[in-house]
């Protein structure tokens, strides 16, 4: 038997041993209250790139400039005084008021310091919906960014494989969680059924996957041509 690998457990809260033990938050104020210390640190480090700091129900949100987001996230992850090592969630919010910008929201957790921070980027709808990807910092962002792209149409620049994830790749109706998308979808049920029946089952494999099989030789010429041209899906 091979010798056991030396094992050291990673403890959450290891960097804040002197801090009091965490307790259930009580009687949180609607607005105000002590912000997360990282918010001040961000202000000092990035200055004007931090547009706003809100504390709502005890949770700190930091609105940062789109162009600085990648640097902010990288710093929060790497800096020994921050160590935000877990990307808890990534999503976007579109408001009912059409004038309001779309918010892209990152929920970060620092396990060593037991901190929770919400980062936001505001995207005006008149401009292209584009934010930098944090995939190079957090691998967890892979599917979360794909989902956000799938549901809101926000492009994450630098994501290695930004495809639809919950909807199928040939889905052409738009982005379901946008407020201009009707609750029942854009097509009637009969139209949806018709489209489903007309679909080519081969297309359920992406071109990349079809290239795995030895059946590649049996593919129609036209599909092979598209595959070699770098196309991703079979339909």
């Amino acid at each position: 038997m091979t010798a056991p690998v030396p094992f050291t457990p990673v403890m959450a809260g290891e960097a804040s041993k002197d801090a009091p033990a965490p307790v259930t938050p009580r009687d949180l104020p609607h607005r105000g209250g002590p912000p997360n210390p990282s918010a001040d640190a961000l202000r000092q480090r990035f200055g004007k790139a931090v547009q706003r700091v809100d504390v709502v129900w005890g949770e700190t949100s930091v609105v940062v400039d789109n162009s600085q987001l990648a640097a902010v996230v990288r710093w929060l992850h790497d800096d020994p005084s921050q160590r935000y090592d877990l990307l808890a969630d990534l999503t976007a919010v579109e408001f009912r008021d059409a004038e309001q910008p779309i918010e892209v929201v990152w929920h970060l957790r620092s396990l060593p310091y037991r901190r929770f921070l919400r980062l936001k980027v505001l995207l005006e709808k008149t401009q292209e919906l584009k934010v930098p990807s944090v995939w190079s910092v957090y691998k967890a962002a892979d599917w979360l960014e794909r989902e956000c792209f799938d549901m809101f149409g926000i492009k994450f620049e630098g994501h290695p494989d930004l495809r639809r994830i919950l909807m199928w790749e040939q889905y052409r109706e738009g982005f379901p969680l946008r407020k201009d998308f009707p609750l029942r979808g854009r097509f009637s049920r009969s139209e949806q059924l018709k489209q489903a029946l007309a679909a080519n089952p081969e297309a359920r494999y992406s071109m990349e996957e079809l290239s795995i099989a030895q059946a590649y030789e049996d593919l129609p010429d036209e599909m092979r041509r598209r595959l070699s041209a770098g196309e991703k899906t079979g339909e």
């Binding site: 457990p9 259930t24 691998k139």
Partner: protein, 437 residues
């Protein structure tokens, strides 16, 4: 906090296993040109499979994929070279529908996303909505919710362990575990009338207080359940086949596990002691005495050990909760949020107005947002809600733990055998309802 490191001794010497508990392989020979073949195969009849890559489509209808997960696998011989997951077959648009419903009307949907943990989801959602409304719930409600969460965790882990046993080839533990799961369903049925989709909470309280004698039934369950645990432990934990099929598979190092966003038993099996109940407590979990088990090697076997231990810890928490269950109301007495008793609606003017206003318009939280995460059996389950001051959320987001956990599957299966994909996939504890939402 950490459990003692255990050495696994294989107790049952099953024929066909080597000393490490791994199945013995059929002896292979090579011919003159170095091609591998079995002893029996006459030369010339077997095609040369070396170097040929094959595409295997696993799922979406395969029972071992726990729902409708589809994995497209590229195999070289029997080894997985590449894994491309496809999800979305159960996508129902819960988040979209939530934007058109009042807060209490969303609770039934939280039942249906992670349907093995529906009481736990109800609690998580209500906690999020209560933070958004600025409500402090009553002490009795808190303790009842802790009991609910822990029962729900046991229920979910029982299904996980049972189905994983089936995936790996053991049928009997599945029956023992489902017997106990049935006992929990009976408890929930006595409490709220439903079994699977319970909708057990409301914003500001619970759907109902526990009926008379319910706590005695719970005590009976707490007494009898550990017996099943030790039975399963005896049959499975040191079983040669089980050990051989789980040890060393799908290993995630602590750093990788955190970076891939794994939470729950997946993360703790890798040796990271992060539990939302300890580190970001809710429902006064910091006042309960329980341990967070962690693994040492981050493989499928450690995930099994961690989940088994979590069930024992849940029993400990329930025992303490029964001890301290206070008397008093379960709902807060703010009738702008919680419905007054139905019996008063026809005799009391105010109650009738509250009923009308709440059903027709719904309670309105102030403008704001909240992200409340709880430790669900799958991992960190968060609900992010944004309110613009109307009775319906602008955005209701589920942070699905098994979605993020599943996203690491290509990393975990690549390089393993096809049959190990089943074991690794089972160890993630996925529920497709939650992943696709």
């Amino acid at each position: 906090m950490a459990t003692q490191k255990r050495t696994v001794e294989v107790e049952l010497s099953t024929s066909g296993l080597d000393s490490r508990g791994r199945p013995k392989r059929t002896p292979l020979v090579t011919d003159d040109s170095g091609n591998v073949m079995t002893l029996e195969a006459p030369p010339g009849l077997e095609p040369d499979l070396i170097g040929e890559h094959m595409l295997i489509n696993l799922g979406p209808q395969h029972p071992a994929t726990h729902g409708v997960l589809r994995l497209v696998l590229e195999l070289e011989g029997e080894t997985v070279v590449r894994c491309i997951p496809h999800i979305g077959y159960l996508h129902c648009g819960f988040e979209k529908m939530g934007e058109y419903r009042q807060y209490n009307q969303i609770i039934p949907w939280t039942d249906r996303e992670d349907y093995l943990n529906s009481p736990g989801n109800n609690v998580a959602f209500s906690l999020g909505a209560e933070r958004l409304f600025g409500i402090e719930i009553t002490e009795r409600c808190k303790v009842l919710r802790v009991i609910t969460c822990e029962l729900s965790r046991i229920m979910s882990h029982l299904v996980w362990a049972g189905t994983t046993c089936i995936d790996i080839g053991a049928f009997t533990p599945f029956l023992w575990m489902f017997y106990q799961r049935e006992a929990i369903y009976k408890l929930l049925e006595d409490w709220v009338g439903a079994r699977l989709t319970v909708s057990i909470t409301r914003v500001g309280g619970m759907a109902a207080d526990v009926p008379d004698g319910w706590v005695d039934q719970l005590k009976h369950f707490v007494r009898t359940f550990p017996k099943t645990m030790s039975e399963v432990d005896r049959v499975v934990t040191r079983n040669g086949i089980w050990v051989g099929r789980t040890v060393g598979l799908g290993v995630m190092s602590p750093d990788e596990a955190v970076n891939y966003g794994l939470t729950g038993a997946m993360l703790r099996a890798s040796g990271v002691a992060y539990d939302v109940r300890k580190d970001f407590p809710y429902l006064d979990y910091e006042t309960y005495d329980f341990d967070v088990p962690i693994g040492t090697s981050g493989d499928v076997y450690d995930r099994y050990l961690v989940r088994m231990e979590e069930m024992r810890q849940s029993i400990r928490i329930i025992e303490q909760a029964i001890e301290r269950l206070p008397d008093g109301p379960v709902n807060i007495d703010d009738h702008r949020v919680v419905l007054p008793p139905k019996s008063k609606a026809t005799s009391d003017m105010e109650s009738m107005i509250h009923h009308f206003k709440q059903v027709m318009e719904g309670p309105r939280p102030p403008i704001g947002e909240s992200y409340v995460a709880v430790e669900s059996p799958k991992g960190e389950k968060g609900y992010y809600m944004v309110s613009d001051g109307t009775s319906k959320p602008v955005r209701w987001r589920i942070r699905p733990p098994s979605f993020v956990n599943l996203s690491a599957i290509p990393k975990m299966v690549e390089g393993h055998l096809l049959s190990d994909v089943i074991a690794i996939n089972a160890s993630i504890d996925i529920v497709m309802g939650e992943i696709d939402r």
